[in-house]
Symmetry: C3
Subunit: 131 residues, 3 copies
């Protein structure tokens, strides 16, 4: 069954991974992390800074589809240090609200993981968006 996919690829992993795939009115995004355009980790050791950068990357993927963070309906947070994040919950959720321009209307799941793709990463955010 052939389907029509709109696929967004860019950055250092573009030969292996699409950053986002749209079919119909749903966009699935790859997990976004705190890296810059070259794939280098940003804000090592700083969970608030990593949240900010990860959302900047989510917004960039969505922008390629003409969408924004307001289109996100579900986000799964994979976190390497849950107690550490909880200790900085105020800063983390403020950074999230700033990214969305207010408290977001999203379902959220937060999970502690044993590792992410690169050792310095502290959070990966996987989103589903609707357009």
């Amino acid at each position: 069954m052939a389907i029509e996919k709109q696929v967004v690829r860019y950055g250092p992993l573009k030969d292996f991974i699409a950053q986002g795939v749209r079919v119909g009115d749903t966009i699935h995004l790859s997990g976004q992390v705190s890296v810059d355009a070259a794939g280098a980790t940003v804000a090592a050791g700083d969970i608030v800074g990593q949240v900010r950068q990860a959302y900047a990357n989510v917004a960039e993927v969505l922008g390629h589809f003409g969408a924004t963070l307001s289109n996100v309906v579900s986000e799964t947070w994979f976190v390497t240090d849950v107690p550490g994040l909880n200790r900085q919950a105020r800063g983390v959720f403020t950074a999230r609200a700033e990214a969305f321009g207010g408290q977001p209307d999203t379902a959220q799941t937060l999970i502690g993981v044993s590792a992410l793709f690169q050792p310095d990463l502290m959070i990966e955010i996987q989103c589903v968006a609707r357009v």
Copy 2:
């Protein structure tokens, strides 16, 4: 691209997290855990009891959308102790069948995680439902 979201918020985390978001015929739910209405952990140390309470909370979220557990199409179980759950598989899957009123027609993924949002939690269940 503006979309119309139906958002369900309640409970102690309502300023930060929606419990569910519906767009069109799809509902994304936040991960549900074994907590009571005040957010306190229920059934600490008892995986069967935690499964039961988590599904009660899934059902409550769905009820706000006029839906039931029969609308769930996919569930991801994030579990802190997979061998421990396997040792009680009979009780766990009986509790699940009782929640659904029979063996559910859902896709399921079961993953071991290093931590959940609160230390006493043993399982978090993330669901997608269709209406």
Copy 3:
């Protein structure tokens, strides 16, 4: 709200878990792992072989719906040893490209987990497909 689900069940877990559920044009698959038709682990200790077998199982589920790997839009990889996978990235991504018949047009998320359903499993792949 009654919905019409197309449910695919087979194999040793068929009384408990559907391998896939379709509603409308979306298929949610259960996490697929490196097991044979009897549920025994295949390619213990060999991450490349496990990736190959897991995708064979994804393809089998999709085949029951008349779909193929080209219908996958999102895949989440849950991996027990992320550094070990990274050391064999070339073999792993070659096996993935061979399964799809070229680099796939999918969103991908890769997460390190503390355990999978059986101790010898090294990877579990959870997919969403559109038809």
